[in-house]
C-alpha cells in the first residue's frame, strides 16, 4: 500500500504524547511514555492499545458456515453463536496468508478480525472464492478498535460500561449505545485477561478516553510486541508466512484436518503423515547478552548456521533475551543448546518450552 493510513484515534494519540511510527501501512503509536512501563502496566494492571488498523469482515448467508470451513483451517462448525476461535487463511501450499479470529455472531453470520497489512489481500482472496448463499463485506473502515489488556481489564470494563457484561473467554457480545452498536470480544494478544472493543470510527476517541479514565494506561505497538512474544503468539509476516504451514509454526491445535476439505488441507495432511522437517521453536538466552532481534543468525552448539530469528526481543518481564526461529526438528527440542549471533558476538541460548512467560491467572 503506498498511502499511509491514519487511525481515527490519531489526534488523541498525539494529545497523549505518543511517538508515532509507520506500521503495516498505518501511522500508529509505538509508545507513549516507555515500552517498559507500558509492558509492566499490562502485566500488573491494565493497558489500552489502539487496534483500529486491524480489519473486520462480515460474512452472512445460509452457506456461510460451509464456505468459511473451506476457506479457513479451523472448524467454524464448532462455534455456537457468541463464540470465537483462532484460525488461518492458507494458500494452496498450506502456507499462512493470514492468521485471524472468527466469531459466530448468529447461525448464519460471522465476524472476522484480520491483520492490518493483510486486509486487501485477504478480502481479494476470499471474495474471489465466494460461492453459494454467502455475502462477504469489508467493514474495516467503519470501525475503530481498541484492546484493553491486563488483570484489571474486567474492572476497567465494569467502570466504563456500567450495566454491561463481558462475554466469556473467546466470546463476542454486542450492545447498543447512543453512538451506535459496539462489539466486545474477550480476546487479546498479550496473554492477560482482556477484551477487544470495536465501535463506530467517529466514537472511537470518546471510548478510548473512557477506558483510560476507567484505569487503563495507553500502550503502543512496542509493548504489544514484547507482550505477545513473551507468550509466543506469532506475528504474521515475521513468525508466520506463506512459506510456513501452521503445523510448522506449532499451531496445529487451531487446524482441523478431520472437518472436510479446505484450502491447503492436502499439504497439511501429507506433512503430518511424513513428519515435519522444521518447527518454530522458542529460544532464550542462558545469560546476559545484546538483545536478540528478527533476522539475527541462529547457530547450533558447534557454530554451524542453522536458521535466523523470526522475532526477538529483550523480555521486559524476564530481563532475558527471547526469540523464535524455524529450526530443523532435531534442534527444536527443549534443552537444545544454540548460539545467537549479534554483530559477530555469539550469545549462548537454549530451546525452551512455549510460552516464555506465564501470565497471571486468567479470569473468564
Amino acid at each position: 500500500m503506498s498511502n499511509i493510513q491514519s487511525s481515527p484515534l490519531e489526534d488523541l494519540h498525539l494529545q497523549l504524547g505518543a511517538r508515532m511510527v509507520p506500521f503495516a501501512g498505518w501511522n500508529m503509536p509505538v509508545q507513549y511514555t516507555s515500552i517498559m512501563d507500558e509492558h509492566a502496566a499490562v502485566r500488573s494492571g491494565a493497558g489500552i492499545f489502539d487496534i483500529s488498523h486491524m480489519g473486520q469482515f462480515v460474512v452472512i448467508g445460509r452457506d456461510a458456515e460451509a464456505w468459511l470451513n473451506r476457506m479457513l483451517a479451523n472448524n467454524v462448525a464448532k462455534l455456537e453463536p457468541g463464540q470465537g476461535q483462532y484460525s488461518f487463511l492458507l494458500n494452496d501450499a498450506g502456507g499462512v496468508i493470514d492468521d485471524l479470529i472468527v466469531y459466530r455472531t448468529a447461525k448464519d453470520e460471522f465476524f472476522l478480525v484480520v491483520n492490518a497489512s493483510m486486509i486487501d489481500q485477504d478480502f481479494f482472496w476470499m471474495n474471489e472464492r465466494c460461492e453459494g448463499d454467502v455475502s462477504l463485506a469489508n467493514e474495516s473502515s467503519l470501525w475503530a478498535g481498541m484492546a484493553v489488556q491486563g488483570p484489571d481489564s474486567a474492572a476497567v470494563f465494569a467502570r466504563a460500561c456500567p450495566g454491561q457484561e463481558l462475554p466469556p473467554r473467546n466470546g463476542i457480545g454486542r450492545f447498543a449505545t447512543a453512538g451506535g452498536d459496539v462489539i466486545v470480544c474477550r480476546t487479546g494478544y498479550t496473554g492477560e485477561d482482556g477484551f477487544e472493543f470495536f465501535c463506530a470510527a467517529s466514537s472511537g476517541e470518546s471510548w478510548f478516553r473512557g477506558f483510560i479514565d476507567a484505569g487503563a494506561k495507553p500502550c503502543g505497538l512496542g509493548a504489544r510486541d514484547t507482550l505477545r512474544l513473551e507468550m509466543c503468539y506469532p506475528l504474521n509476516g515475521s513468525d508466520l508466512s506463506p512459506d510456513h504451514t501452521p503445523l510448522e509454526a506449532g499451531l496445529g491445535f487451531f487446524v482441523d484436518l478431520e472437518k472436510g476439505d479446505f484450502i491447503g488441507r492436502e499439504v497439511l495432511v501429507k506433512q503430518k503423515a511424513d513428519g515435519l522437517s522444521r518447527r518454530l521453536a522458542a529460544i532464550a538466552y542462558t545469560g546476559k547478552g545484546a538483545p536478540p532481534r528478527a533476522h539475527y543468525e541462529v547457530l547450533d552448539a558447534d557454530g554451524q548456521s542453522v536458521s535466523e530469528l523470526s522475532s526477538g526481543v529483550l523480555s521486559p518481564s524476564l530481563g532475558q533475551g527471547i526469540g523464535m526461529a524455524y529450526l530443523p526438528v532435531g534442534l527444536a527440542k527443549p534443552g537444545t543448546e544454540l548460539q545467537i549471533d549479534v554483530r559477530g558476538r555469539r550469545f549462548p541460548a537454549v530451546v525452551v518450552k512455549k510460552p516464555f512467560y506465564k501470565p497471571s491467572a486468567q479470569k473468564a
Partner: protein, 125 residues
C-alpha cells in the same frame, strides 16, 4: 532539554568532555530521550584505536540498536562498565554516570569541527 555548555557535540548526538589529552564520550540528553529505555550497551575494548566517525559502541533500546560514533580519533583508554551492568544510567544521567568510553586524544584540532552547545541546541530545536 539539557545541553551543558562545557561540552562539544557531534551531529550524530554524541558529546565530548575534554580533560587534558583525555576525552570522555557519551550520548546527549536529546539522544537518550529519542532512543527511550536503554536496555543494553556494547562497549569498545580498551586499547582499540578509532578514527573520527567510526562506530565505536552500540546502545540498544527495546526496539532498536543504535551505533555510537566516535566524534574524534584516538585510543580507547577506558570503557564504562557501570553502563554495561546498568544500561538505564544512559537515560537517567547521560552526561554523568551514563558516559560510555574515554579516548586518548590523537588530534586535538578535530575538536574544533564539533558543535558547541549553542550549535547543538540549534540543531535539535
Amino acid at each position: 532539554m539539557n545541553v551543558p555548555q562545557n561540552l562539544r557535540y557531534n551531529t550524530s548526538h554524541e558529546w565530548v568532555l575534554v580533560d587534558g589529552d583525555i576525552a570522555t564520550i557519551g550520548i546527549s540528553d536529546h539522544a537518550q530521550e529519542e532512543l527511550t529505555d536503554v536496555v543494553f550497551v556494547e562497549l569498545p575494548p580498551v586499547g582499540k584505536t578509532v578514527d573520527a566517525g567510526d562506530p565505536t559502541a552500540v546502545v540498544e533500546s527495546v526496539k532498536a540498536a543504535s551505533d555510537i560514533y566516535s566524534p574524534i580519533s584516538g585510543e580507547v583508554v577506558e570503557a564504562n562498565e557501570a553502563v554495561e551492568a546498568d544500561p538505564s544510567l544512559v537515560n537517567t544521567d547521560p552526561y554523568g554516570a551514563g558516559w560510555i568510553f574515554k579516548l586518548k586524544i590523537k588530534d586535538a584540532a578535530q575538536l574544533d569541527s564539533l558543535l558547541d552547545a549553542a550549535g547543538y541546541e540549534a540543531m535539535i530545536a
